[in-house]
């Protein structure tokens, strides 16, 4: 029934909700009120015609907690669907980050070289700075930011994870 009750795993959960006032507060309040973790949270309207938004939450917990999180989300009135992408098969997860690097000389050239390896794009540039845009899974984004630390990293802005199941099936 509960083979590894203490095992804490990360789960990517996708929640389809009515895009109405307060819906995000409901979801976030549920997590804080019940003591669940939010590693990242991303939200945007995905179906304007039906006023539906999709929230992607990266959370962690024991299997029993994850089950609770899904059940608790499911009983919120404006929630249409809750999908545990981690359990439901392979999925693609991506994050976008903007990384500002300030510096000159060799460091500046090096940052551009690394950006090229990571397929990050420079979306803004001055004589002393770049803003790189990088898209990838969380590990890749983390690795890029880590490398930039020594090369003049001054600011990071990240979207949090968005994810979708692989294959033909929609949620």
């Amino acid at each position: 029934m509960n083979p590894q009750p203490e095992q804490i795993n990360e789960h990517t959960i996708s929640v389809l909700v009515d895009n109405e006032a307060g819906v995000l507060a409901r979801v976030v309040g549920l997590f804080s009120g019940r003591g669940y973790n939010i590693e990242s949270l991303t939200v945007a309207e995905v179906d304007p015609e039906n006023a539906l938004s999709r929230i992607t939450i990266l959370t962690s917990g024991t299997p029993m907690i994850i089950e609770q999180i899904k059940a608790q989300l499911g009983r919120l009135v404006p929630v249409h669907k809750v999908n545990d992408l981690t359990l439901e098969g392979p999925h693609v997860a991506r994050e976008l980050a903007m990384v500002k690097v300030v510096g000159s000389g060799e460091k500046r050239v090096e940052s551009l070289r690394i950006a090229d390896i990571f397929r990050a794009r420079a979306v803004d540039s001055t004589n002393k700075s770049f803003v790189f845009e990088i898209v990838g899974d969380t590990g890749k984004v983390n690795a890029f930011i880590k490398l930039m630390e020594k090369l003049g990293l001054t600011e990071v802005s990240r979207t949090g994870v968005v994810a979708i199941a692989r294959g033909t099936k929609g949620i």
Partner: protein
Amino acid sequence: MASKQLNGSQIVLKALVDQGVEDVFGYPGGAVLPLYDEIFKQNQLRHILVRQEGGAVHAAEGYARSTGKVGVVLVTSGPGATNAVTGLTDALMDSVPIVCLTGQVPTHLIGNDAFQEADTTGITRPCTKHNYLVKDINDLARVVHEAFHVARSGRPGPVVIDLPKDVLMGQGPYSPPTEAGHKSYRPQLKGDAAQIRRAVGLMASAKRPLFYCGGGVINSGPEASRLLKTLIKKTGYPCALTLMGLGAYPASDKQFLGMVGMHGTYEANMAMHDCDLMINIGARFDDRVTGRLAAFSPGSKKIHVDIDPSSINKNVSVDIPVIGDVAHVLKEMLAVWKTERAKPDTPALKAWWRQIGKWQKRDCLSYKTNSKVIKPQQAIQRLYEATKGHDDVFITTEVGQHQMWAAQFFKFDNPNHWLTSGGLGTMGYGLPAAMGVQVAHPKALVVDIAGEASTMMNIQEMSTIAQYRLPVKVFILNNHYMGMVRQWQDLLHGSRYSETYMDSLPDFVKLAEAFGAVGLRATRPNQLDNVIKEMLATDKAVIADIRVDKMENCFPMIPSGAAHNEMLFGNNGDDSLASEEGMVLV
């Protein structure tokens, strides 16, 4: 489509009437003046003017739980709404359907810290099942209908509708209730057929089965209680009920083992600990029931029927979850039991009942009476005996020792007649709740079994009771202490009674008279029956001040952090103190 335009207040009232509302509990104020003006002009809805908004919500809870209908509350913005918060939380914890209309400052002032402004939807979001802020009058009728649908379907709960004053005064269209109720909210009513078959299979092969049933049975409606009785009678299995479930199965039946949990009976708790199959119907494995989770019913398989998927596997892992409405699932279970020609394992069941008989012989609720001082248990038992002849008896309680004694000694044979604050444990619940019950059932006998400390928490509602000539009986077990808190100080804090003595209590007899009610008092056991008799014969509100043994504690008891087979028996057993780990629990 040019439908007739109404003002916002007319739309709200029309929607309430179309939802079958007859009574509203409320308190006026600036932001809801337009609504009160429309209330003045009509005679389809009766408004009950409470004395504090908290009383309005508890009264609506009493009304809802005794009728199965949605209770309706109307309060103003700011303090009106914040005073309602405790009642809303109470209704959420005990799954009571409530629609609470709150006034709000006009939309253009929202967020400006206007007079009597509070972020009502923000404050009530975690203590309601759902809430709405209506900013557009075109949504108003739909939202009110939707609120009723959400409040009463699935696991019932409180819903707040925040109504800015300009919306109440604007002009807009009215639309009647729709069949669907809500565009997407559809709780699952029918249980999964395969799961039900598996559950019945387990039931038929059980050797030491136990039905453990809760408030979900009562919320599912009277039919659920009838089906439960049929199923339990058919199987011959024992049944225990939670605090919220009392009345779901007749207490007078010999298959009933009593209440489970912290102050449940020895036989119910031991049966829970030792059973090999637990059939949970509409209960939620609350911490007051389970005791120490690691030692909770270690040898049993568990079936759990609940309409709320989040109740499944929340505290206790179960083997067969069935998500659905209790009445629907019980009906299916009975059908499968019949078609599969299931039969209980008679020899095993006989042995199980023999074992239960041994536990029952322990007579865990026994207490010693004497001629000098009234025992609280005795007071409730005498009250119960005296009310047996009445057709319709509703009991509400406050929170504390008297509540547990009432649960132990008052026997309920029907659902919806026992109203107590179980989940939140709200002192001050019983008096306004009794008021709400009496509004719904003017002819019935409604008794608030109370403690003197809890009574003081909503005593202002005696004035409402006077205004509407409600013959509510307040039966106070007066021991001059916050008894349950003191009991824990006895168990865990070296009997240091820090701030639990109720000094300077009012003279409850005179207090009753001040509110136009009748005051009675019993100080000695030989006065008890006469006072009860007089109370029941009085056709007005009564406060009966029953002076009981000040130091009596409530037993049996599973101390916090202990298991079901580690019960304390108080004066008639050998007790050890609760554990250190138990001390940090509540």
